[in-house]
């Protein structure tokens, strides 16, 4: 009882609203918001909710806001640029975008955290090992946005796979970088970079890899549809759930958890492409379970 009484003032002090800021009015952003709200609904006293577009953030943050959820890069940039001291959790943004924004606008006295959109590199490489056994020469195309991942990539590859990378500084170099890379790899791991992987370049990369019999591992559902043999990604709902959990911790303890990679993820496969490449793949659910199992061990 005493404990409850002690806890009460905290609750009282924290009865502001949660402000959701979204980059755009697109379904993916809304799915994240819905999933976070579903998580918040599990609190004994769910906080009030406010929703704003990134462009309207300044107006929306007036009043009693106790926490901000920024969905998307643009939303988080607006929050960070405002210099607000309200704790903010960003999600549906890649780690590089979070890091750069924090670098530019500061950590807001430790009041910035995130659930990244990208998967930890170790998890991606582990999936390659599990799903495509025997294919241990992994090739990665690095563009201007993804080349900073190089060191982390090498560290993650160590003792897992043999890594080969090709840098692409301009789009016209892509064709040959792909040819060179495919000549010495068994699997092509796609890492997000708008110069290397976009709707215009993906046909070329997928067709070239397919011809060489090299499976491509993508980072979104769209890759599997387009012709990658498998993809590892977190759905907006999965990111939202994890963000919601973080938010609950913040609201109940006042502690803001550190930025983190997604804990929940999805493995998807394209069995038709795999079969055409002469490989049968395990069911996505099996791969996902086995990937989870390795993470539990480690």
């Amino acid at each position: 009882m005493l404990l409850l009484v002690c806890a009460l003032p905290r609750w009282a002090a924290a009865t502001g609203e949660v402000l959701f800021v979204v980059s755009e009015d697109q379904p993916a952003y809304k799915e994240v918001v819905d999933a976070v709200r579903a998580e918040l609904a599990r609190l004994p006293v769910p906080p009030g909710i406010r929703l704003a577009q990134a462009a309207a953030f300044e107006a929306a943050r007036q009043g009693n806001v106790q926490a901000i959820v920024a969905v998307g890069t643009r939303a988080f940039r607006a929050v960070a640029a405002s210099g607000t001291r309200t704790p903010a959790i960003a999600t549906l943004l890649p780690r590089s975008a979070f890091d750069r924004t924090v670098l530019e606008h500061g950590r807001g006295e430790g009041r910035r955290s995130a659930v990244f959109l990208d998967q930890p590199l170790g998890r991606q490489l582990e999936l390659v090992k599990i799903a495509l056994p025997g294919r241990n020469r992994v090739g990665v195309l690095l563009g201007p946005e993804s080349e900073q991942a190089m060191t982390a990539l090498q560290a993650a590859a160590e003792r897992r796979v043999k890594l080969t990378t090709q840098k692409v500084a301009e789009e016209k170099e892509l064709h040959h970088a792909v040819q060179r890379l495919l000549a010495e790899t068994d699997v092509l791991l796609a890492l997000p970079d708008s110069l290397v992987f976009n709707a215009g370049t993906v046909p070329h990369i997928l067709l070239a890899s397919y011809r060489q019999g090299v499976p491509v591992v993508g980072f979104s559902q769209a890759y599997v549809r387009a012709g990658a043999v498998l993809a590892l990604y977190s759905t907006p709902a999965q990111l939202g759930a994890q963000t919601g959990e973080m938010l609950r911790t913040l609201l109940t303890t006042g502690q803001l958890p550190a930025p983190q990679h997604p804990r929940y993820f999805t493995v998807n496969t394209n069995p038709y492409v795999a079969r055409s490449l002469g490989r049968a793949l395990e069911e996505p659910a099996v791969l996902q379970e086995r990937l989870l199992a390795t993470e539990r061990i480690n």
Binding site: G72, L92, A97, K172, L207, R211, G227
Partner: protein, 653 residues
């Protein structure tokens, strides 16, 4: 003397216009955001792009990929079929390649279908078959060739009688930058190729032009000049829709005839081929696809000479001028009604028109029409058992309605081993000339017209019933693929022409029974090495003539060599050098009709290449020798295949 070729000029102009498109706005400067994860991507590897796994294919298929094309060192697409078990390739004179599967045909090979991206190259002219010189693409444009060994009318319609070659060209996004290639060698070999590919917005394009020239066999009037131009654009309409546009043209001139042969004097044959094709591809969920293909092909030829016939050497003007047109529309739909079932079905309509005064003794257009309904059901009954059942109903204006069914069972006790057995029935529809031809010699000095060839009216389509048992071993740990096919082919109503009072009359003339075995071992001990071993043993075991006096049929018994072996070794060294050697051993055979006995012989082809440069600017210098050893007879005893050596320099930038 070098005549400026209008086609080549047009090609170069177009190439120049397209070669340096405005640079796309640089994507740089954009910061990493979630967009990469959220954007929709075009469906690239849709059903028709995916090669069916060989283990699931309803029959034996040999794939010729780019690596093999390069390593083979060939200049002609036709020569690639030397690397496919059971196929016979020869030059019916130095300018006219002929390709057949399992014999029975000579210079004209009408029992095999050739498709380029679904477009039939099977000619409606004369006896049918494919004019290999007219193929308006370069070897570099080819992504792969899937050669179906065995009848496949169920999927490809009449004329896919004994085999089908599906030539699949590269998506335009696969040919980036500029490629310039020059080849020079003995026998006046001089080839060139210029190709450029790029992207403008959502359009990937490729444009190419090239030329092949050589003087054919020594001391034979068979020089050949072929030039072509082609253009391909792949345009993304949406994430699920893509439009491919292709057009191209080929022009050729080739020597024919013999000196001091009054009825077959030396002369030059000119031919041209134009095509335009539009293909709309829509990806549907779950590996489904809708594919609509429309194309138009126009061929024409000219060849005029005065032949002298009879003991009196009476002159007759022979004008082989011709024009053919084909308009074709096909719709194909692939879907999966259940997890283990895949259905491909579609309809196709075609109108062919031909005008050839010499074949029909009139100046009119003669037309045929064709309507097709086809389907195939692929059903995985168990993880180790796959059933394929398919068929095609065709209505052809000349011969009525035919049904070509096919059934195949694939047993897969493990992913390494596939055993297939099945049966199929297929047809070849006689050409318009075989059906209604009326070839006459007009002896203009005496005003007499003498019939020489006459169509067979009411010819029935040729029919084949083929049974096969085959094995496909994919022994990954060894890097070895084994492909063995045992076959029994019963053919009936085969068309021949017999002598009827000095007029050759086309008629259903004989039945034939073929039996044999063929295999291919493809061994890749490591990524740098490829070993290929093909052997085929086939025998025409039975031949039944409908007319005892028909002498043309007798020759055919020996039209397939009893055995053939091909061994190819190819290896890359130090990343820059590549060496390949191909040895062929051919048993004795007799080329039917225009051809002759071809003695047992062997042939060794060698290729040595060095790659230089790196990145976008690079090149290769290759030296090829065909028939390193002694000359051998090809097709006719006076055609000696001497050693041919040529060098190719290619630059990419």
């Amino acid at each position: 003397m070098r005549k400026k070729r209008p086609l080549q000029a047009l090609a170069v102009a177009t190439l120049a216009a397209l070669s340096w498109p405005p640079q796309q706005a640089a994507a740089g400067g954009m910061e990493a955001s979630e967009q990469a994860f959220l954007t929709d991507l075009p469906v690239v590897l849709s059903a028709s792009r995916l090669a069916q796994p060989l283990a699931d294919a309803p029959g034996a298929v040999t794939v010729i990929d780019r690596e093999l094309i390069k390593a083979s060192g060939v200049r002609d697409i036709a020569d690639l079929f030397r690397l496919v078990p059971g196929f016979l390739v020869a030059y019916a004179n130095g300018a006219n390649p002929t390709v057949n599967y399992h014999g029975l045909t000579g210079q004209y090979s009408p029992r095999m279908q050739v498709l380029i991206d679904g477009r039939s190259m099977y000619s409606s002219y004369y006896l049918g078959g494919v004019d290999w010189n007219m193929i308006p693409i370069s070897l570099d444009d080819i992504e792969r060739i899937e050669v179906v060994r065995g009848s496949n009318s169920a999927a490809y319609g009449a004329n896919a009688f004994l085999g089908v070659a599906n030539i699949i060209t590269r998506h335009a996004s696969q040919s980036r930058g500029t490629l310039a290639e020059y080849t020079s060698g003995n026998q006046a070999i001089e080839d060139n190729l210029l190709r450029h590919g790029g992207r403008i917005g959502d359009l990937d394009f490729r444009v190419g032009t090239g030329r092949r020239r050589d003087s054919g066999f020594e001391n034979v009037y068979d020089d050949r000049h072929v030039s072509f131009f082609n253009l391909r654009g792949d345009y993304r309409l949406s994430a699920h829709d893509e439009l491919s546009l292709q057009m191209g043209a080929t022009e050729s001139s080739a020597g024919a005839g013999f000196p001091d042969t009054p009825d077959n004097p030396t002369r030059t044959q000119h031919a041209s081929h134009y095509f335009g094709q539009m293909q709309w591809r829509r990806a549907l969920p779950d590996d489904g696809e809708l594919l609509v293909t429309a194309y138009r092909v126009q061929d024409s030829g000219s060849e005029n000479y005065i032949g002298r016939f009879t003991g009196l050497l009476l002159p007759a003007l022979l004008d082989w001028g011709r024009r053919t047109e084909r308009n074709n529309l096909e719709v194909q739909h692939v879907f999966r009604p259940g997890r283990d079932v895949r259905v491909v079905w579609g309809v196709e309509g075609r109108i062919d028109r031909i005008r050839s005064p010499i074949l029909f003794n009139d100046d009119n257009w003669h037309g045929t029409s064709l309507a097709r309904l086809f389907g195939n059901l692929e059903w995985r009954l168990a993880p180790w058992l796959l059933a394929n059942a398919g068929g095609m109903i065709e209505r052809y204006s000349l011969t009525g309605t035919d049904f070509s069914p096919r059934a195949m069972l694939n047993f897969q006790p493990s992913p390494e081993h596939t055993f297939r057995m099945g049966a199929t029935q297929a047809y070849r529809t006689p050409s318009l000339a075989e059906q209604t031809g009326d070839v006459r010699l007009h002896f203009y000095t005496i005003g007499i017209s003498q019939p020489v060839y006459r169509g067979g009216t009411n010819l029935k389509p040729e029919k084949i019933r083929s049974y096969e048992m085959s094995y496909l071993g994919d022994l990954r740990s060894l890097g070895l693929t084994v492909d063995l096919r045992l076959f029994r082919e019963h053919m009936g109503n085969l068309v021949t022409n017999y002598d009827d009072n000095n007029v050759r009359v086309f008629a259903n003339g004989y039945n034939a029974l073929l039996r044999g075995a063929e295999y291919q071992l493809r061994w890749r001990p490591d990524r740098e090495t490829l070993v290929l071993l093909n052997q085929s043993f086939e025998r025409i075991v039975g031949m039944e003539k409908y007319r005892s006096y028909d002498t043309t049929v007798t020759d055919l018994m020996q039209s397939a060599p009893t055995h053939r072996t091909t061994l190819m070794l190819s290896r890359q060294f130090a990343g820059r050098w590549s060496v390949s050697a191909i040895q062929h051993w051919m048993g004795e055979m007799k080329w039917p009709h225009e051809g002759d006995l071809q003695r047992k012989h062997h042939r060794l082809d060698l290729r040595l290449a060095y790659r230089f440069g790196a990145g976008p600017t690079r090149g290769e210098l290759a030296l090829v020798t065909q028939n390193q050893g002694n000359p051998h007879d090809e097709f006719r005893p006076q055609y000696k295949f001497n050693r041919r050596t040529f060098a190719t320099l290619s630059l990419e930038f």
